[in-house]
């Protein structure tokens, strides 16, 4: 059975900044809002695509060292981020290593979690924007 196993090498970049080594999980939810398109005579609910409503959630370690998580995100809260890219492996984009680009998403919150006896983490969700894969 063919599978894609990502152990350590996905690449996450916010703009030109590669944040991969602080990231432990990335959840991309590509959504097109469904719009009912029924009419008299319909025998089942039918849908057509509405607006995109994408979300990318990153689980990050909360490092406040220079050029790390805090320095990357502190100025982005409440703003629209031009591009965020996600790729399964560090090689060039290809049909088996597609490059996903989220363009124009919004970062509403920044909420680091300080926990006794554990590394401080932060989960950020970039909301909205358009998403597309490129394979070359």
């Amino acid at each position: 059975m063919a599978t894609s196993t990502y152990l350590s090498n996905p690449v996450i970049s916010i703009g030109a900044v590669d944040i991969s080594d602080q990231c432990t999980a990335a959840t991309l939810t590509q959504t097109f809002t469904e719009l009912q398109a029924n009419a008299f005579g319909s025998t089942a609910v039918a849908y057509v695509a509405g607006l995109q409503n994408n979300t990318l959630t990153l689980d990050l370690y909360w490092s406040t060292a220079a050029s790390e998580t805090y320095a990357t995100l502190k100025a982005l809260v409440g703003t629209v981020i031009t591009t965020i890219t996600i790729k399964g492996a560090s090689g060039a984009a290809s049909p088996t290593n597609p490059l996903g680009t989220l363009t124009g998403s919004y970062l509403p919150t920044l909420a680091p979690v300080y926990t006794l006896g554990a590394l401080t983490t932060c989960s950020v969700s970039f909301m909205g924007g358009t998403f597309a894969y490129t394979e070359a």
């Binding site: 703009g15 030109a16 900044v17 590669d18 944040i19 220079a66 050029s67 320095a71 990357t72 100025a75 982005l76 031009t82 591009t83």
Partner: protein, 60 residues
């Protein structure tokens, strides 16, 4: 045109020139310590001891 040098490995090889794309937020990259403006300016051409159009023959 402003030039920038990479100061964080998150952006590329430290010390090399940062080639900005139209989507890059330069102010954010500078504020985050990822790049900085390069102080290096193109060098001026060296002054020549003898002007190229000067003739070797001196007037009598």
């Amino acid at each position: 045109m402003d030039r920038y040098v990479i100061t964080s490995s998150r952006v590329g090889e430290i010390g090399t020139a940062f080639v900005a794309s139209p989507s890059d937020d330069i102010a954010w990259l500078i504020a985050g310590g990822f790049i900085q403006r390069s102080d290096t300016h193109p060098s001026k051409g060296a002054k020549l001891a003898i002007k190229p159009d000067a003739t070797e023959n001196e007037k009598d």
